[in-house]
Symmetry: C2
Subunit: 419 residues, 2 copies
């Protein structure tokens, strides 16, 4: 395995603003070979041990209220333990169950935790798919590095995720239910029991799969622009999928819901960053008259480098920048824009649509943004969605559910048994 | 109990910058009475259930290497579970042991966690003491509120901490070892198993006690001023003792250590905020010739409202602002100051001393601050500490270890058995 496979240029770019040497050290660990110079074992999916459940659970029927609780997991989970002295133990696929953690475990005190959000999809062609799992696995390494957790080869993580889907996918996403998904949550936590404020000496990786409701409600989301609370800042960790970006947002989120809004639209010094835990896009007509798809840029590391965000930008560049899709062509713009810009576009009738995008919320239209105690109404040309969001969403779903064969839709082999 | 005992002016001030209504809601919950209008049970230390261990552990001897690992806990722990539908269950004091958590537990993904750092002290007069436990318990409510965890009456938490110390203190801090301490860690985590990004519907409070090394090394700490990494931001959560303030600092800390420094000195736009996980103080002679004790202010909620910080400021105001302590009198200044100010004071010979202050590091002199690749040497008049830090540290230790009877040193009754 060439080092370039482990540290693609994308990753280096992602972590460039962190203390550079710390990142270099961490990534060097990841690329160490077990050649006698390093006694640390690498994460190795080929060592995966399988222990199947003896008490299989029942798959909930569509409409079962447990689906909305986002707590019903599948029969199995994958776990792997890393220790600073030995590296990665052989991973295990085993029955789903509770974790036993020392009350002194690092994750419970210092938020040494990172995760990914992905879905597995049951296609209309009967096939089981992941969507760009390589992107999630690379980002997980970025997040782990940022939060002082151990490195690993993203390809090995992808193999472990594939194993999990191969074992639980066929039963939990049956072929009789095309067009449905399960949510996958690869997670890593600092499991070392020691209260010193230091990088944990033990970490546990686990992969679970849960039911989750469809969150891309057609009625559109109402957002409340944050006035007094900031999600992320320069020199911080907004770009990483670490727990520390979520817990601190919950109070403002709860308050937004109490006031009748669905999510917070996060601002930093008046500049629009993210919507809830999703990326945020607007389509507006610029003052010069050009239709633009606009979203916040990645370069100051404030916002999450969403896989859905990247995919939307790429599809829009390929399919919407010239005529042919039946809509006016778009200019794609990654730039800072302020809430004042948004308000002005609405008031001048230049706003065309807005939407939030992420794995959980998928592509979810936004119908209202409240700013300075005023509800700004965002148009939705098709009633339930904007025209552009509708097109993009359809294209993405076609790839996810196998209506379009595309390299982003990675088909998972459904063997009867992996052992 | 009057509501004012639950929400002292201090607390309101602490949370004033958060979404105001969310804080009001949370604190209102805390003050609800079980009067029929609310079915939620309050945290009630009088309901504490005692289950003593049947397999008591051995107390490590002084010098045992396990002490430095900060992982050796005492025989017991206190736990209490809260549920959104019912409120607080009766707390339990029970044998120390692992926690069993669903892999979907909120704390493992979204950093819904907060904690306190306190110590129990075995005095030279043979008595067991806590230092200002009321301040820690009030701050824990502030932190819990900020991170979307449930409220409670701080006095009840203090009673639970007292129970823990009463049971484990006599054995683990024996009267034969005056002048020693154990570290107490009250912690609250979101224990609800559900992956939706929302305030957790279940939380677990636990209190543990561990050995911890003395971190106030006399040789003095070397600090590396952070250039590319920022700990906290206005509108963020730097003032709260939540996990999200710690994990993201570990990478920069590891790098500082790799370069031969002990901790990071955190800057925000060049302004000095905290040293590692401690507050930072300088004593310098101002350009006008006045000796000043300077530390960052609390009003923008960037820095932790340290109990040691508050105590130092109060003692200094009482004992160092007029002559009589045998040193030149001080002006006490809580204000923003920049790393350029620090460098200038060093270069102009106006720096008198600097120190970090917190529960873990206590009052720890700083001998070097590295800034823009230059090691700035901070004087320590007495060789091992500055004169002012030395005085303050002695006064604090006298209160903690019973050489001075003071209201901050809260004596814990050592009954043979509480049941």
């Amino acid at each position: 395995m060439a080092p370039s496979a482990v540290t693609p240029p994308h990753e280096v770019q992602q972590t460039a603003e962190l203390t550079a040497a710390a990142v270099a050290h961490k990534l060097a660990e990841t690329t160490k070979q077990p050649n006698g110079q390093s006694a640390l074992r690498l994460l190795d999916a080929s060592l995966l041990k399988f222990t199947k459940t003896k008490t299989p659970m029942t798959v909930p029927e569509p409409g079962d209220p447990i689906i909305n609780s986002s707590s019903q997991c599948t029969d199995h989970m994958v776990t792997a333990v890393w220790r600073v002295s030995t590296g990665w133990d052989a991973p295990e696929l085993k029955p789903y169950g509770n974790l036993s953690l020392a009350p002194t475990a690092s994750v419970l005190h210092y938020a040494t935790e990172c995760f990914e959000g992905m879905k597995m999809y049951r296609g209309y062609d009967g096939k089981l798919r992941l969507f760009r799992p390589d992107a999630n696995c690379r980002r997980m390494l970025t997040s782990a590095t940022r939060i002082a957790l151990p490195g690993f080869d993203p390809l090995e993580l992808q193999k472990l995720i594939t194993a999990m889907v191969t074992v639980d996918g066929p039963k939990w996403l049956p072929k009789s239910r095309p067009g449905t998904f399960l949510y996958l949550r690869p997670t890593m936590i600092g499991s070392a029991g020691a209260l010193g404020v230091a990088a944990p000496k033990e970490a546990t990786l686990f992969i679970i799969a849960t039911f989750m409701p469809k969150l891309d409600q057609p009625r559109g989301m109402k957002l409340l622009a944050s006035q007094d609370s900031v999600r992320a800042w320069p020199g911080g960790f907004g770009f990483a999928k670490v727990g520390a970006n979520y817990g601190p947002t919950l109070m403002a989120n709860s308050e937004a819901r109490a006031r009748g809004y669905d999510q917070v639209l996060w601002l930093l010094d008046g500049v629009v960053t993210e919507a809830g835990a999703s990326n945020f896009f607007v389509v507006w007509r610029s003052k010069e008259g050009k239709v633009q798809l606009v979203t916040a840029p990645l370069d100051d590391k404030i916002i999450l480098d969403g896989v859905t965000r990247r995919s939307i930008l790429q599809l829009a560049r390929e399919r919407l920048t010239s005529s042919g899709a039946g809509v006016e062509s778009l200019e794609i713009v990654e730039k800072k824009f302020s809430m004042e810009d948004v308000a002005e576009a609405v008031k001048e009738g230049r706003m065309i649509e807005a939407f939030a995008a992420g794995t959980a919320y998928f592509v979810c239209p936004v119908c209202v943004v409240s700013y300075k105690n005023e509800d700004l109404t965002i148009p939705m040309k098709l009633g339930e969605t904007g025209e552009y969001a509708g097109l993009i969403k359809t294209w993405l779903m076609d790839i996810m559910y196998g209506r379009e064969q595309h390299e982003w839709g990675v088909i998972i082999d459904e063997k009867e048994d992996l052992e």
